[in-house]
């Protein structure tokens, strides 16, 4: 496991170029007493000693399933929630002592859009710019630029609530990008978007990073996205950072194992002894088997299922190098479909 703050050798440098320093963050939501039609809920430690260092100009991701504490971390970072313990420093400002400074340092894209829902796309962006302190002409120019950049021009006069989920999300991203901010905090920005819109978002975010050196903190539970756009990623589980590294570094930590997915047409041909032997090593989900194997074992298994009688029963198979999801499972996070907990989204 690699933690964000490296050894003491480069700690001075990390300090110098850190955009965000989060240390020992603890937040417990109090227990709820039982009321009519609602059982008592125990206190939840949503954030259990989270420490992160995010460097300037970096696209940093928080990855984890629902309820892992990602949004709780972000809400403390944006001054919306006061931590019980620990420190939050953004670009040299102590946000635990001065939570209101957050609004002057960062742009935050929340998961909810209800404040903007009844506005037109153009007015939502322009108003947000004005409320970030822009003068009216500057806000109008920036609005036109950002709508063009995200391809929202044709939707500019439509109210957000008449748009599809992905379009609405894109309009919220447009509002978040109004007014230059050195830190962008984006909570699941591309939820529901088509690939075209996703690309537009990542291009716009990247442009701000290249041109202004903006730092980006991205909350996601989309593994594919995390693998492609993040410089570094912290994996959260039950309020703790269970790993923090580059996506490549994390994958290397899992070792050489590859993942083999087999989908059978109807039932697996368990009559074949070697197939029956594979079953004991597989995670079975209906007709789908998932195996984590060394490359040699995987080669043998592929040869086995693609030849002879087994092939007749095979519907599909896929061989993949480790993904962040595998990392997540290897690190002891709650796997997809296990224990009723929601896994990471892959598509």
């Amino acid at each position: 496991m690699r933690q964000a703050a490296g050894g003491s050798v480069d700690s001075a440098r990390t300090r110098a170029s850190a955009a965000v320093r989060v240390s020992g963050l603890v937040k417990t939501y109090p227990a709820a007493r039982a009321r009519r039609r609602r059982p008592a809920a125990p206190a939840v430690r949503a954030c259990d000693g989270v420490s992160l260092d995010i460097r300037q100009g970096e696209v940093f991701g928080l990855l984890g399933p629902n309820g892992a504490g990602k949004s709780t971390v972000v809400r403390q970072l944006t001054g919306l929630l006061r931590p019980d313990e620990g420190g939050v420093e953004v670009l040299g400002h102590d946000l635990v002592r001065h939570p209101r400074r957050a609004a002057r340092l960062l742009a935050y894209l929340a998961q909810e859009s209800s404040a903007l829902d009844e506005l037109t796309v153009a007015l939502a962006a322009e108003t947000t710019g004005r409320l970030r302190g822009m003068e009216a002409p500057a806000a109008r120019r920036a609005r036109d630029d950002v709508l063009a950049e995200l391809g929202l021009g044709p939707l500019a006069d439509r109210p957000l609530k008449r748009l599809s989920g992905g379009e609405r999300r894109l309009a919220c991203v447009a509002a978040a990008l109004m007014g230059a901010r050195p830190l962008l905090v984006l909570d699941e920005p591309t939820t529901g978007m088509d690939p075209h819109a996703r690309r537009a978002v990542w291009a716009a975010v990247d442009r701000r990073r290249v041109e202004h050196g903006s730092t980006v903190l991205l909350v996601t539970h989309n593994v594919i996205e995390a693998e492609t756009v993040l410089d570094r990623v912290a994996v959260l589980d039950r309020g703790r950072v269970i790993a923090c590294d580059t996506p490549g570094g994390l994958k290397a930590a899992v070792g050489e194992e590859v993942r083999l997915e087999l989908v059978w047409r109807e039932a697996a041909p368990l009559g074949i002894p070697r197939i029956a032997a594979l079953r004991s090593a597989a995670a079975v989900s209906g007709r789908r088997w998932t195996l984590r194997l060394t490359p040699e074992e995987a080669r043998e298994a592929v040869a086995l299922v693609t030849g002879g009688p087994a092939f007749a029963a095979l519907d599909d198979f896929r061989l993949a190098t480790p993904s962040l999801e595998d990392v997540y499972v290897a690190l002891g996070g709650r796997a997809e479909g296990s224990g009723g907990a929601e896994g990471l989204v892959r598509a």
Binding site: A12, R13, A16, S17, A19, R55, Q56, G57, E58, R75, T78, G79, L80, L81, R82, L91, G92, H93, P99, R100, R101, A102, A103, R104, L105, L106, A107, Y108, A110, Q111, E112, S113, S114, A115, L116, D117, E118, L119, T120, L123, A124, E126, T127, T128, R130, L131, R132, G133, E135, A136, P159, G179, A180, R181, P182, R209, V210, H212, G213, S214
Partner: protein, 273 residues
Amino acid sequence: MAAAAPPAQPLGADGAAGPGDGPAPLAARARVRPALGAVYRAQLSRARVARIPLLFVATFQSLGIMLLMRGVVDGGAEARAVVAGSSVLVVAFVALNLLAQYFGQLRASGGLDHYATLPVPPASVVLGAAAAYASFTVPGVAVTAVIGALLFHLPLGGLWVLVAVIPLAGAALAGLGAALGLLAPKPELATVCGQLGMSAALLLGVVPAGRLPLPLQWVRDLLPSTYGVEALGRALQARPDWGAVTLNLAVCAAVGAVSLAVATRAYRWATVR
């Protein structure tokens, strides 16, 4: 080591300081008046989209009440009270009831986070929303007052006083509505409080004061809309006592200021917890 080259120059208000030079510069806050203007414009536009049917409801409700009361009161002070009360009731419906619902839902759905993470003064958000809802009532109040005056054969000459009554009663009621919406622990409770406030404005504003039992008269004196009703009622006289009208408007303004200040405090409380 502090001089280690950063990957790129950070961007602040003036784009100047580097990371090694201490805290990054803070971007400018939005100033109160431009921010208020921006919130007002946005709120008015969403009200236009979503609230026009409700404005019709508010106006027809007041017109219906006046028609009903025509059989009960027979001109004079009571007729003036009915017309003034029904007109201000439109303000209560929109500014108190609908604004309480709006802020209640905004808070419950996490929409307040949007405003809370913008460097906008709380007063701008509250005043902008209150002003938008209050100005949205203008056509309804004007229609109710004119039709009411015609219905009860009252002089129309004093109706210009609506120019002061709507913003002042609007401020008092919208402030109360916003505070209720922001402080209510659940949106349903905000809705109930807004509806109750409107019922109180209906009962205590429309029914002439002389016919109310004594305890209700005290409550009537506590209700912010009462002074708007009084001012408008007096302006509907043949020869209005402008001193009394001004006094009532002054009380209304004071109550409005207090209620908006409370709403601003409530907003601060609701955004950072």
